[in-house]
Amino acid sequence: MARPAEPAPALDLLGVRVGLAGAVDRLRDRIPDLLAGDGVPATTRAELALPADADPADLLALLTAAVVRHSPLLCIHAAVLGHGDGVLALPGQSGLGKSTLAAALARHGLAYLSDEALALDRATGAVARFPRPVSIAPDVWPLLGIEESPAPGEAERQFPPSRFGRLAPVPDWPAGAPRVRHVVLAERRPGPAELKPGTEAGAVQALLGRAFNHFHDPAGSLATVLAVVRGARVWRAGYAQAPELAGLLADRLG
């Protein structure tokens, strides 16, 4: 008698049940911190085919894109660290150094939530963790205490976030999840790191401008962002080296 087909593997991430096909095992091996869950009940579904010949970094990028696009949470491109009973969010485009900043802040004792997505419950502003692996270029490894040598031609390596510090715990969602207390608008530029008060207008623009899925509910997304900004302190930061800014943030906001 034929055995019943096994159900397709699926991951629950940021409220999305992601049905996976293809190179599932190669992806699963890379995401132990994500597999530990985020506490957000899945209310939507997405299907993702993972090409067998794809690089592990590309598999992770595919998964991330599917999750932040389909999530019922408002997902914004940002690094996110737990700070006291709240959250510090650093919105920014690719290349800003969010991953390095997130790893450096974790080394300063802040709880790691994500180097990629500020995931907000639209109604309450509760923040979910998304601790995917952190891609770090070899030239930054010494700054983060990474003592391995890169392989010839290695452009980036993915490290589990737990390597750099503690992960934010899986919360009782949404009541027990942290809220945003600080929004840091960071800019890379030469010179010593500095931190100054920022503006609500700048924070609204930065957060909305980096949203992955605001199109699901534009008016509601704006309302969520406004509530976040009004409930947080906004900072402008300039920096050349991520560890220096991480130290400044840990000292000033601690």
């Binding site: 503006t199 609500e200 207008a201 609204v204 623009q205 909305l208 199109f215 534009p218 008016a219 704006l222 406004l226 900004v229």
Partner: protein
């Protein structure tokens, strides 16, 4: 003749501590204004023409109307072009 300006229909205004956030429901567009642009927006209530707007803003900022006129006109043009303001020929009743 210098135009008067009014907020376009279906524009929602959210006050920020240092500016304004405008949301246009018709096409779900958002525009964030800094403090200066927000002042221009607040004065664009249909009662003052461009010259009068410049006078009011110049008095508030302690400068001469001619100094800020180009920037005020550019902001009004931008807000009108993006559909957040509409120009009318005379003072709004």
């Amino acid at each position: 003749m210098s135009s008067h300006y009014l907020p376009a229909d279906q524009v929602t205004v959210e006050e920020l501590d240092d500016g304004l956030c405008l949301f246009r429901a018709a096409d779900d567009e958002v525009l964030v204004l800094n403090a200066t642009a927000a002042d221009i927006w607040r004065l664009a209530d249909g009662t003052s023409d461009t010259a009068r707007l410049c006078e009011l803003l110049a008095a508030a900022y302690g400068t001469r109307p001619a100094t800020i006129e180009a920037d005020v006109r550019r902001t009004l043009d931008e807000l009108t072009g993006k559909g957040y303001l509409r120009a009318v020929d005379g003072p709004a009743g």
